[in-house]
Symmetry: C2
Subunit: 76 residues, 2 copies
């Protein structure tokens, strides 16, 4: 089975990487880019029958820093 | 309007970051993790009416390295 985990910085946490992308898009002539946030997506190839609780556990223990990041699990 | 761009390494391109995550999950006692690929997700806050073609252009010019990465645009 496959699962996808999206990890984003929480709202209010400064995202310098996203800001850099926003500036770069402006410099390239793309107008109207009001904000950019950059996060991670992790695609997991798991043994069949792995529960969503286990995936959540992986997020809490390793994949996301829950102090500053939020995550979303999507089982494919 | 908002758009989300997913950028992943193409199949066959070595993903050391994903491999590191796979090992770390194994070390934490999570069995059955067969593969991990890590990519980026970029959330764009754009002026209303920005066309999908413009977003694709952003991907080609800045957001993805199309030699080794594939991207997917999702307008929200």
């Amino acid at each position: 089975m496959k699962a996808r985990v999206h990890v984003m910085l929480k709202n209010g946490v400064l995202d310098p990487q996203g800001e850099a992308v926003r500036h770069a898009l402006g410099n390239l002539g793309f107008d109207g880019v009001e904000g950019v946030r950059q996060g991670k997506v992790i695609e997991l190839d798991l043994a069949d029958g792995t529960s969503e609780a286990t995936i959540t556990d992986m997020c809490e223990k390793l994949l996301a820093n829950t102090v500053i990041e939020s995550y979303r699990v999507e089982v494919l």
